[in-house]
């Protein structure tokens, strides 16, 4: 930087400081009435979401890699070789309960194993049985974690909880979705199971899971 540019630098820095201070004063003197900026608020929320995702990439990268190596790959390999029912039988007879994912959290019943592969962005973080439902917490690479519950469908009447939901067709199957400001929900039925899943931000996190449910007939 030339000597002249240093002088300009000094001038610019003194100017920005003085200008900024005048703006701070002006900001304090603004009328107290609320200004409604819904479009800008939405835009900033979207940016913050992106930011959360970026941060998750940074600190979650190593953790996700470890999780994939230690938990998901062994489970997935097992599923590719045998059907879920066979695995369940094997687990009952040959394998101790602590070798099953999430067994420590089980209460009231047997964990229904995932009979489909997960989309690449999702990994099983935790699983448990709660009040007859098999619950999986799926960590999303983009930090839109999914809670998936699977439950045996006892009667057709149970389908009633899809009322007022939007119907979307995937691979010829109907799935039910609901988008809310607070959460996203998807319900679908396959075989004798009802799958319910929720995530925080984007229903597009859930739809590929439903697609896998219908396409991966293991």
């Amino acid at each position: 930087m030339s000597e002249q540019d240093k002088v300009f630098g000094e001038l610019a820095r003194r100017y920005t400081k003085a200008y900024g201070e005048s703006l701070l004063t002006e900001n304090q003197e603004l009328p107290s009435q609320q200004v409604d900026l819904p479009k800008a608020d939405q835009a900033v929320k979207r940016l913050m979401r992106q930011s959360r995702r970026r941060i998750f990439y940074l600190i979650g990268g190593l953790a996700a890699a470890c999780l994939v190596i230690t938990v998901v790959l062994p489970v997935k390999n097992g599923l590719e070789e045998t059907s879920p029912r066979i695995i369940a039988e094997e687990n009952q007879s040959d394998t101790g309960p602590h070798n099953q994912p999430g067994q420590a959290g089980q209460t009231g019943g047997e964990l229904i194993l995932l009979a489909f592969s997960l989309p690449e962005n999702l990994t099983v973080k935790e699983s448990m049985v709660d009040q007859g439902q098999s619950v999986y917490l799926l960590a999303d690479r983009l930090r839109d974690d999914v809670v998936l519950t699977m439950e045996k469908l006892e009667a057709p009447a149970e389908a009633a909880d899809t009322a007022e939901m939007t119907i979307v067709e995937i691979n010829g199957h109907q799935v039910y979705i609901r988008s809310d400001a607070a959460y996203q929900q998807l319900i679908c039925y396959q075989g004798d199971l009802v799958y319910r899943m929720t995530c925080r931000y984007d229903v597009n996190t859930l739809l590929p899971v439903a697609e896998k449910i219908f396409s991966d007939e293991l």
């Binding site: 400081k17 900024g20 701070l24 941060i55």
Partner: protein
């Protein structure tokens, strides 16, 4: 390293959020002064914070006042560009001017040092907003021409031209303020 980067991103995220909550109203009012139209002013708020978001790391280390000046420099530029587009004419700038007069501008350091903050303000405020924006971003925040071009959404060539014009005008103003004429080498 990863954790340090993550903390840095996290603190910048908080800073960005704070700057939105604290100053969005001020940005909106400033945009209204230029555009006199609420929907357009709100668009200015959105665009300004989008540009701030992309460049928050460039001002995360500076003091609050300078950070706010940076935000408002972007906001004014966005609003003026919007007004210019709406008025259906564009100011055409020629890079040739830079080439023709690319001599060094001379300005004396002690004159600046003797000036009060209010004098500095009124001096730099004599620049047009478009010259002021590039001048402030270049010399106040040490940004490269490419970074300035991205923030202001103009070509690097235009940045170079505007910086030269700003320096030239400021040198003349400072010389005038000191009772002498600017000299060119």
């Amino acid at each position: 390293m990863i954790i340090l980067l993550a903390f840095s991103s996290e603190s910048e995220k908080e800073l960005f959020e704070q700057m939105y909550v604290k100053y969005k109203k001020l940005v909106f009012f400033k945009a209204m002064e230029i555009l006199h139209h609420e929907a357009s002013a709100e668009d200015v708020v959105s665009e300004t914070y989008l540009r701030l978001f992309r460049n928050i790391h460039k001002v995360s280390h500076v003091e609050t006042a300078s950070r706010l000046a940076f935000l408002m420099t972007i906001a004014k530029n966005v609003a003026l560009t919007m007004r210019e587009k709406e008025s259906r004419y564009q100011v055409v700038e020629f890079a040739e001017e830079y080439i023709e007069t690319a001599s060094e501008v001379v300005m004396e350091e002690d004159i600046i040092a003797r000036m009060a903050a209010s004098d500095i303000m009124s001096l730099v405020d004599q620049l047009s907003e478009e010259l002021k924006a590039v001048f402030v971003l270049k010399f106040g925040y040490d940004l490269s021409h490419r970074e300035i071009a991205e923030i202001l959404n103009i070509s690097e060539n235009n940045v170079t031209v505007r910086i030269f014009r700003a320096k030239k005008k400021l040198a003349a103003l400072v010389a005038g303020a000191a009772g002498k004429e600017a000299a060119y080498v």
